[in-house]
Amino acid sequence: MSIEIREARWDGEEATALRLAMDAELRPRYADLFSETTSAPTPVDTTQIVFTLVAFDGDQPVATTSLKNTDGFFEVKRVFVAESHRRQNLGARLLAEVEERALALGITDLVLQTGLRQPEAIALYEREGWVLIPPFGPYADDTEISRCFAKAIVPLFVAVELPARGAPATLVSDAVAAIGTFAAAGVDLAIIGDDLRDAPEGQARVDAPTLAAFAAPKVAGIGLAATISTTHTEPFHLAKVVQTLDHASLGRAAWQVAVSTSAEEAAQFGRKPAVDEPEAWAEAEEAIEVAERLWDSWEDDAEIRDRATGRFIDRDRVHHIDFEGRFFSVKGPSIVPRSPQGRAPIIVSVTSAASLDVAARRADIVRVTADRVTEARAAIVEAGRAQLVTVLVDVPVASGSLRDLLATLRHDTGADGAVLVFDEIPDAAAFVTSLAPFVRRDDPTTLRDSLGLTRPASRYVRTLEGATL
């Protein structure tokens, strides 16, 4: 049997006939629940149909489905296979075709609604990796009969943020174990939080880059971000720390930029009084510029090991950065050769107008609360960086069913993924099942890969014409 799936009109003859057959088959199953008047399907606004597919066996139409844009949900509608052609995997083939075409249209998530008395349909969706979700959109009030499913056809970018803090005796092993479990569960990135304030009574707090570097050789397949504040730390130091983390993790490092505005932290260093948030972020932006210049200060092919001339490097490919700013001047180059990712991704968590500005202009990953996604997207567009930035929404893990939340996260928030924010180092195993349907299944080589970012050339590379790229 050769089945061909073609695009058709929703209101064309073949699709309409198949849907009528579907109605005729299903109506009796729900007859006791609906009166004659309500059992007729709600009329569909055909302008909302993205496409309709019909499967033909020769010239006989034998199955159909459609994709509909229902208030921003991309909903798979009316999956039906004629009785003569069941048990041939045709339903799964139709769904696969919908996914492929939706992907080509840039759609990331699909949903659908079926009913509790269609066990064969429910079985099909579960087999094909769909996740049962609470009734969405137009079905939200119908928790009795509706059974709704979702499928992330593009994996969500999922990060976790763990504090570098915990019981003194077990903090390190607990953190490494949790990162390992999250890595195996398909989480893309573990962010090690940090600040320099005193830990709560009975807890220890460790330097975030140190913990990230310690985890790097022990845990594969997950990005590792260290939080480093720019307020009291020298940009030259933090730049080489991040580069070294990138070398030690074989291209999985990231830097979460933070600022320190407390008097407590200022007193630890005793170099300057506490600064306010706008001033601290202005300094952070300079520190980011310095770090990125230092990361580029060695071109990728600077090391030549030329025995004939006795030169280890080509010094024309190692550059002073000559940065002069409001807060510091740094000569360069870095002492660390260019790292596997070239430039490790930069994460900025938006907590204020000042941090939003820096995030939009500088970050590869922008973290926001759900209510600020639109504002952040607008600022990123304004900065001309819409294609370059991954927007993640912070999800406090105590907030209800993680699985339901992730299933419609992109639709509900407009973000590209989530940061699960843990206040204590968690028992990561408890989250594996909830995450499974939404995360990647492959292992990207570098963190930039998993963000869809290419490896940047050094800004100091000269083109043949002598200009700088």
């Binding site: 140190t210 310690f214 630890q268 005793g270 170099r271 010094r315 190692v318 740094v330």
Partner: protein, 430 residues
Amino acid sequence: MTSRTPTSRTPTSRKQIHLAAHFPGVNNTTIWADPLSGSQIDFASFEHFAATAERGKFDFLFLAEGLRVREHNGQIHDLDVVGRPDTVTVLAAVAAITEHLGLVGTLNTTFNEPFELARQLASIELVSGGRTGWNIVTSNDAFTGENFRRGGFLGNPDRYTRAAEFVDVSEALWADQKVDHHGEFFDVVGQLSIPVSPQGKPVILQAGVSDEGRDLAARYADAIFSPFADLESGRTFYADIKRRLAGFGRGADELKILPGATFVLGDTDAEAEERYQYERSAQVSGATALRTLEAVWGRDLSEYDPDGPLPSVDLVVENVELTAGRATHHIDRRGSALAWVEKAEAEKLSIREVAIAKLSRGILVGTPLQIADRIDEFVQTEASDGFILVPSITPTGLDEFVDKVVPLLQERGSYRTDYEGATLRENLFA
């Protein structure tokens, strides 16, 4: 039930040798042109080197540091290995793949702040279970200061006072006390919230050999990275330091003296000599020889033939420092030049041959047995407590030493067959 081991050849009365492994550095000792030379930056190199050192029951891995890429005559120096990782970060990663090896990093008191550096070291202590060491260096180097927000120029007396205050603050922080310090150089108020480590605090190393440097070491250090790798100067230095310890109320055994030394092994005398000649010539190319002379003469000598005679002493330009970002500086430049020219004339040496002679220091050359004998002699005759070994090949340069010399030292009862303790301090003072 008791049993005797009549075959045992391990008398326990011998003074125990302590060995450390210096990751090959960014000077001409490291031979990058050798076919076996690997990456100086890939983590796999650190992994291999650390695993070899741990297999050889070394006390610790040692990392040097430089916070600005070296320059010569205003340009980045390109003849030696360039580039290395951040010390603290790479030690944290090495902690993850080792169990017993100590992790010693060189970290500068001039370009760091006490709270931050003490916290980083305490953090490595926590992840490594008490295996950290800190080689304290000070700097009066405005050249390096250009990479830092405050700049870094401090005169000689000041830098040691600052270093001492830095260590005092660090020690209070490592005790996990609430620190409220207001001193000449630092105002630090805060607490680390990191528990006191199993070894109490990181092991302190010091490398300065000036009078102030020796006193700083005698007061604070657990070990000295010494430049005196010949028996005579080694014994003099050893006696001087042990004498100074008493002045600070410390016992003679409370500080280990470990000279840095490179080594060249051969299965026979002839092989060792052949390898030695190869290494010396690989370490000092014609270009390296000319730059070495330029640093002394204080001027460009690139027109000279490295295989020809030395330039006249009259060409020396005083008060010009061509080399920047390196620990050693020429103080009496004209005097040095004169000595080099006299040596060349007396021994009929070319520029390159003189440079080879001048750059070769602290080298152990011989068969495994000869080198084992030599190291043991140093330790048993109080010229040192062991060595910080500096291989010339990254990262495999230590392999042969561990395979061939370590078993000989163990056989004669001068060297551990297993780690005595869990922490660096326990092993260093076992």
